[in-house]
């Protein structure tokens, strides 16, 4: 009822004292809560964005089971597996960055973020190699499909979904990299500290989501 009424103990008004606090929030804690909630809501929109593609995948997999299975078998499993490992590791380094900044070790945090960026680049690099191979083999969506290996109706649909899903995911990786780069730069310049590190936390959340989506894409596009 009145949980919003009384300020929780320990929360105190720091207006004018904390550069991070916006004028319309009563305390930094509440402001950080707001940012976190906002981020979670944003992540839910991302989930629903991909949900559409997953639904499309389910529908067409049901329509063309043989073509999908045959096409998935021609994708580069080594690349997919390697990318999965790369991304999961990069999630770990982001988590470590948050850990370090909480402990007041901004330098270590920046290093971790840099490693994450490196892994993200590696991911994109491997993806680019894969894409090149697909282009050479004409494993392309819709009307561009000319792959001799699999000539079943529905194979072009697999590649349409493959490129849509990995493409959209790749776009998210690029966005995530941009965000992480900004955050790393800001951390290096002392904007974040053990006292205020919500930016790194939110960027980390976003990165975990990018990772999570890949964990669903990997079996759908490479394994089954």
């Amino acid at each position: 009822m009145s949980e919003a009424a009384a300020l929780p103990p320990g929360e105190h008004l720091v207006h004018g004292t904390d550069p991070h606090l916006a004028h319309h929030f009563s305390s930094l804690e509440r402001q950080v809560d707001a940012s976190r909630l906002g981020m979670w809501l944003f992540l839910s929109t991302e989930v629903l964005l991909f949900a559409g593609l997953f639904t499309g995948y389910a529908v067409y997999r049901y329509s063309f089971p043989v073509a999908f299975a045959a096409s998935a078998r021609t994708s580069e499993i080594w690349a997919g597996t390697l990318n999965t490992i790369v991304l999961i590791t990069s999630s770990l380094t982001v988590a470590l960055a948050i850990h370090f900044v909480r402990a007041g070790r901004q330098r270590a945090a920046v290093v971790c973020l840099a490693i994450t960026l490196f892994f993200a680049l590696a991911f994109l690099g491997i993806k680019a190699i894969e894409y090149t191979a697909h282009f050479h083999e004409h494993q392309l969506p819709g009307r561009y499909y000319r792959f001799e290996g699999v000539r079943l109706p529905g194979a072009e649909m697999y590649w349409a979904l493959y490129f849509l899903m990995t493409g959209l995911h790749g776009l998210h990786v690029v966005i995530g990299m941009t965000v992480l780069a900004v955050i790393a730069w800001r951390t290096a310049h002392g904007y974040y500290s053990a006292h205020y590190y919500v930016g790194i936390e939110l960027a980390g959340l976003y990165w975990h989501l990018v990772d999570l989506i890949w964990i669903f894409l990997y079996p759908l596009l490479y394994l089954i």
């Binding site: 329509s63 043989v66 009307r143 499909y145 000319r146 000539r151 079943l152 109706p153 529905g154």
Partner: protein
């Protein structure tokens, strides 16, 4: 009563067995709606008269509804709504379930006309003749975009979708002429994509069919075709098989997968073919039809352009029959092509 309400609500004539059924639900629903919206409006007016503001500083008591009242707010409309739903849903199940003795007519929608083909009977453009008092099932597909087959007097409507078949059925009760309208927006000619259902008395219909077969009344709907003179023969696939032999198609195209002068028809439909100019196409109805009409437009890689055109030799339903025959030639059980709507098999044991 029925007639008064029908006119009051501007409903068209009731010309099918559904029409009166649907209309009775219609009256029930609309009258309840009238009563409810009037009741809400009157209550608001009543409250306004009773509880006008007496002074600018008036205070009012704090009133909370009794839980029972709130429950009534839910239960009363819910029971009405569910009653409507039960009645309406039952009718709609009936609408979706053609009786076993229904007569089949194939319908093809394209921008912006309706084509009708009777299995073993004549074909027609924009004019559908059906006997009264006998269920008619329409098996419909579209050549281009989505259309919707709608006859207001029958109270039936069904979308006609490219790449799949949809079905609808009706039992016309009153002989007469009724407009067919396209209800799904399909472009510049959407509003003039109109046809006509002519409901004939059963004996008149039989006369018309036999007249068609004798080739007497064919000028109305198109030139007579080989099919018009042949005895009614099974479904489209059977017709297609017979036509393919008569027209000599199978002299060059094998149906068992063996190589010959032309590409084999086995598994042709849905196959990806490489053309002589390097393009890859998927064989669909459009490609098969085009190849019959204009064989040199797209030559499959490795074959010579030797096929004659059948542009003036085959009529619409004959082409459809051959296409259906080719589509039926599939070697395995793996489903190819897009999902189909309702079952394509004829309902009678033909």
């Amino acid at each position: 009563m029925n007639e008064t309400l029908r006119r009051f609500l501007f409903l068209p004539d009731q010309a099918s067995t559904f029409a009166s059924q649907v209309d009775h639900l219609h009256y029930f629903v609309i009258l309840t709606t009238f009563v409810m919206s009037t009741a809400v409006g009157l209550t608001a007016i009543l409250f306004f008269i009773l509880y006008r503001r007496r002074s600018e500083t008036q205070t009012t008591p704090h009133i909370e509804p009794a839980p029972l009242l709130e429950a009534a707010f839910v239960i009363v409309p819910l029971s009405f709504f569910l009653l409507w739903w039960v009645i309406g849903y039952r009718t709609s199940i009936e609408l979706a379930t053609p009786p076993a003795d229904a007569m089949d007519v194939y319908v093809q929608g394209k921008k912006w006309m309706w084509k009708f083909a009777y299995p073993g009977g004549p074909n027609a453009v924009n004019v559908l003749r059906v006997p009264s008092g006998r269920p008619v099932r329409l098996l419909m597909t579209s050549r281009d975009v989505i259309h919707s087959f709608y006859v207001p007097e029958f109270r039936v409507k069904q979308d006609v979708i490219p790449g799949r078949y949809s079905q609808i059925w009706f039992n016309a009760t009153a002989p007469g002429r009724y407009q067919i309208l396209c209800a799904e927006y399909c472009g510049a000619g959407h509003s003039i994509m109109r046809g006509e259902v002519i409901v004939l008395k059963a004996e008149e219909y039989e006369d018309w069919v036999s007249a068609q077969h004798r080739g007497l009344a064919t000028k109305q709907d198109g030139p007579p075709t080989a099919l018009d003179f042949a005895p009614p023969l099974g479904n489209l696939v059977d017709q297609g098989r017979r036509l393919a032999q008569e027209q000599g198609c199978v002299k060059c195209h094998s149906v068992d997968g063996s190589q010959h002068i032309g590409p084999t028809w086995l598994d042709l439909y849905g196959r990806r073919e490489k053309l002589s100019d390097g393009r890859i196409i998927t064989v669909d109805e459009g490609y098969i039809t085009e190849s019959m009409m204009d064989p040199f437009a797209k030559i499959v890689d490795g074959f010579k352009p030797v096929m004659p055109s059948f542009a003036n030799k085959l009529a619409g339903p004959e082409v459809a029959a051959i296409v259906e025959y080719i589509k039926s030639l599939q070697s395995d059980a793996v489903r190819t092509g897009p999902s189909e709507g309702p079952a394509y098999a004829p309902v009678r044991g033909r």
